[in-house]
Symmetry: C2
Subunit: 244 residues, 2 copies
């Protein structure tokens, strides 16, 4: 519960070497798909849940947000985010998504990039996000894809010769904890089904406006392993809106 | 294209022996999940695309539909549907979903049960369904799940001893034709991603109101193979509405 893997020095060093850590949004394969799903940030109060290095928070500020708050559980993440921060209206605070509380209507947009699969009680968090938003407010998130998280170890199934055969799916309808291997380290994640991600949104009162499964971008197709990303979905991107 | 597998005598005989063919809706594992997603049929003009034996058409009539039209490509299916039909306001007609045309606003509800994965150009069909519906009209469908159709043969991956290891996913982002084995016979189906099913709905103008991945019902859990249905998703159920 509320595992703080990103404050483990070895794990954090490996994370910091990933393209998305070094290059920011342009190094993230899903960014081209996510960007058009984001709301107009002009004059908006924005919350970023699981902000990491703060790339999305900075993007919101660059695009006119009035103020942005990034929340993360990892002090190491926040240290990098604060160091990179050049915006007086972007602030970072330590906290678990499960624990933070804000007055109703505190934000016009809530973002979360690849963090919700670390949350045990997603439905409860969604109902809080709904209350934090003003009417018309947007909730946009990415999470690991249910077909990617179901089996558990998040690895391909290989032939005895070490060749990728396919990606395994199992235990799909058994939602809950999985022990995945990420950057060579064990990490606890939570598997949810596709409807497990969507139904809590409708139940909270959201309108679901878009859902995307990002394909690898054409210009990254030559990077090692990128062609294999066509073989199974890895992420689910969703944009939802609180009705006016 | 527009393969008419259900008029093949061997295939049709096997289909007619399935629980869903013998028992109707109560024999279909997804029915308990689909039923609450259906609209109120009272006084409604209903179209059923790929109606098969007509179970859903009859259900709409039993629940107050003003008139119901079932469309199917298979004469054998329609012969059974007509034989079972006791409703003066339920009519069946032969046609491919891809080919049928109706005036705008002809229906208040459009249903399709496990037929859309036989359609090559889903997006085009969705835009037609949108036009056929009156404002406020409902489009509810089930289709085979993208994680189920991606690989192609729709079978488990087995150990050398014949034990189920997991379900394989591959070629996920390569949408299009797959040669599946259904009831021991080769059938052409079309694989689409989850966003491949949803985005055309939004693009046509629909509001997506619900999405379900049916779990096997508790009372069927003792049927052979049913526990394995917890291991991978097989169907995607979606309800959408044309705004008022």
């Amino acid at each position: 519960m509320k595992e703080n893997r990103y404050d483990d020095p070895v794990f954090f060093r490996k994370y910091s070497e990933m393209a998305r850590s070094r290059l920011g949004l342009e190094g993230a394969g899903e960014w081209k798909t996510l960007r058009p799903m984001l709301p107009d940030f002009t004059g908006k109060r924005v919350l970023d849940l699981g902000c990491g290095y703060g790339w999305h928070a900075f993007y919101a500020a660059e695009n006119g947000a009035e103020k942005v708050l990034g929340i993360d559980l990892s002090e190491k993440m926040l240290a990098v985010a604060r160091e990179k921060n050049t915006f007086p209206n972007v602030r970072f605070a330590r906290g678990a998504m499960e624990d933070v509380r804000f007055p109703d209507g505190s934000f016009d947009a809530v973002l979360s990039s690849l963090a919700l699969h670390y949350v045990k009680d997603y439905a409860e968090l969604v109902s809080r996000v709904y209350r934090w938003l003003t009417p018309g407010g947007a909730f946009v998130f990415s999470a690991e894809h249910p077909a990617f998280t179901a089996y558990g170890n998040q690895d391909w199934y290989y032939s005895p010769e070490g060749e990728i055969l396919h990606f395994p799916v199992d235990r799909y309808f058994y939602e809950g904890e999985r022990e995945a291997v990420f950057l060579g380290e064990k990490v606890i994640k939570y598997h949810r089904t596709v409807d497990g991600y969507l139904k809590p949104l409708w139940q909270a009162g959201f309108t679901v406006e878009d859902l995307s499964e990002p394909r690898p971008p054409e210009e990254m197709m030559d990077l090692p392993g990128m062609k294999d990303e066509m073989r199974r979905p890895m992420m689910l991107l969703v944009s939802a809106r609180k009705p006016l």
